[in-house]
Amino acid sequence: MITNEFIAKIEGHGSLNVNWENNTVKLHIHEGERLFEGILVGRTAEEAHWITPRICGICPIAHNLASLAALENALGIKINETTKLLRDLMKAGQMIQSHVLHLFFLSLPDYIGLDKGTELAKKDPKSFKNALFLKEMADEIAFVIAGRNVHPTTTVIGGFHKIPSKKELEKLLEKIKKTEKEAEWAAKFFSNLKYPELKVDLELVSQKDGKIVSNRGKEAPVDDYKQNLEEELRDYSTAKFGKFQGREIMVGALARLSFKKNNDYLPVQAGKLDFNNPFHNNLAQAIEIFEFFKEAEKIIEKLLAREMDTTITKPSENATLKGIGAVEAPRGGLYHEIHLDQNNFITYANIITPTVQNLTSIEKSANALIEQFKEKSIKEKEKLLNMLVRAYDPCITCSVH
């Protein structure tokens, strides 16, 4: 029983099942089901954003924010500007946290011949130090705004239990500005890696201005997420496999950047992105680290320029009691839908995670990889397949939930 049958350095338990006779790959998902949508039913509205971060310890802030948005929509709450800015700052911190963890501790070893992230300390101490600075910075944003680096403690429906003082924000800003050069370094570092040259006809999908948009010109309102993001069962998986309007899609950093070509903050390395190569999701994440550093600076400057509003907005009297919360999480579009009864108890919950949407695309890209690298040995192909899965940064714990 003590084996290494699961893919290493990804969140959760998955394995690749390759049929070398007809060159097809299936991504088996073995994670146990926790049934979060059932756990939520019968609990009160106030507990949802406490419970859902425990879906995933790598992106808990994203789940916290998605639940809060769903509940606030259900309760007819319009949050104040301070709350909005602080939550955006939490999101920026979450993006940096998750990307740094994935890039340096899970993915990078593939590209420079290491077994694990901490071995970089010996091989390239300067780069390792930079990576630790970035990790520390991202954790600090989460600590100052969300109360803890994993599983937030400060947020509440309608606002915050507790917000940071301006002095704390000033200190945070100073530190972010000081660490910015490491963020820029990360974008450069990942743009100099050699990525396998894989070409896949990728349909990239991201949330944008209340819509789900695709680089094929297709779109749908976020409120219609359920009709547009279909999930299907596979007998080899405890996670469902998602599609957008019936097609395989890729979500996450690479997809987001495909819609942001004119963003002021993008470092020059963005020009190197190949949107038809899923391995470039790693480069896209490194670019986003810098982008979210700039974003965090901008948000803190805005916060410092205004009165901090500590009010927690109360539910409105004519609330619909049904709400959807959509958030761009580190790995792509995340959707929480929550319904309440008159007494504030949850009667229905539905959660679609980014990795559910990516699983279908991982299989598509894996099949393309076998086809395009046919001259390589089976051993080499297996290594590339594992690298490919990691490049997607799947969160299998999220996908099963």
Partner: protein, 244 residues
């Protein structure tokens, strides 16, 4: 010096406690100088099949595969450590009662689905555990303390005080005195009252302190809130630990 061989396992859970291990940063490197991590799926490709000197397990053994693996690891390992609330108490996944699982499988996956999960229980429901590092998630300092105490040949001790003690030190006003529910008095310290510092209640993720006075706390809670709320608090992390 021969370094002790360590394996780190994650059963069904959010992996947030392992994220806390990585958040140790420089201190993780220091730990790696004292031990040899020979099997850690999340962190490395390197894999040795054992036997190990210490096995650290995060998560609940929810599938038959995990239950069998847990028993095998127990048989072959002198020191087995539970990492975090899911492994120690069942945690959030244990909120789902075993009898309701079938209903939810059908509701979430349809009746065509063949489930793998049996029931979310703490590790101690199946095997003896040598030590627990509590928390949802665990606290970085507690992880370092426990491992260092183990390496120096000491049996790590639990904090002999409740969360209230640390909450007072942090300067928080008492939630119970403000008529807000809280499990601080019956919960073991070690977390620094981090949730209460952030404005949230204590839901008891660090487990019961020794000689916890549950009836005493219930009496106070009954004065400030309704039965359903009390039940919700006591089942957040403790649904398999405290019988109501």
């Amino acid at each position: 010096m021969i370094k002790p061989k360590i394996a780190i396992y994650d059963f069904t859970d959010c992996e947030g406690c392992e994220v806390k291990l990585i958040s140790l940063r420089e201190r993780l490197l220091l730990l790696e100088k004292k031990v040899e991590i020979v099997n850690w799926r999340l962190g490395q490709e390197r894999f040795e099949a054992g036997p190990y000197d210490i096995v650290i397990i995060e998560g609940t053994p929810i599938t038959q595969y995990e239950i069998d693996l847990l028993k095998e690891l127990r048989n072959k390992t002198p020191i087995l450590i539970a990492l975090g609330a899911c492994a120690a108490l069942g945690g959030i996944p244990a909120i789902m009662p075993e009898k309701d699982r079938k209903y939810w499988y059908e509701k979430i996956y349809t009746s065509q689905y063949h489930p793998r999960g049996i029931d979310a229980l703490p590790l101690s429901s199946y095997v003896k555990i040598d030590f627990i590092i509590h928390g949802c998630p665990v606290d970085e300092n507690e992880v370092v303390r426990v491992i260092e105490e183990l390496l120096s040949g000491k049996k790590p001790s639990f904090r002999g005080y409740s969360v209230c003690f640390e909450c007072k030190l942090a300067g928080n006003p008492c939630r119970l005195l403000e008529n807000k529910p809280c499990l601080g008095p019956i919960t073991q310290g070690g977390c620094g009252a981090i949730c209460i510092n952030g404005g949230s209640p204590c839901y008891g993720c660090f487990g019961l302190r020794e000689e916890a006075n549950i009836p005493g706390l219930l009496k106070i809670l009954e004065k400030i809130t309704d039965q359903k709320t009390i039940e919700n608090y006591l089942t957040m992390f403790h649904s398999r630990n405290i019988k109501l």
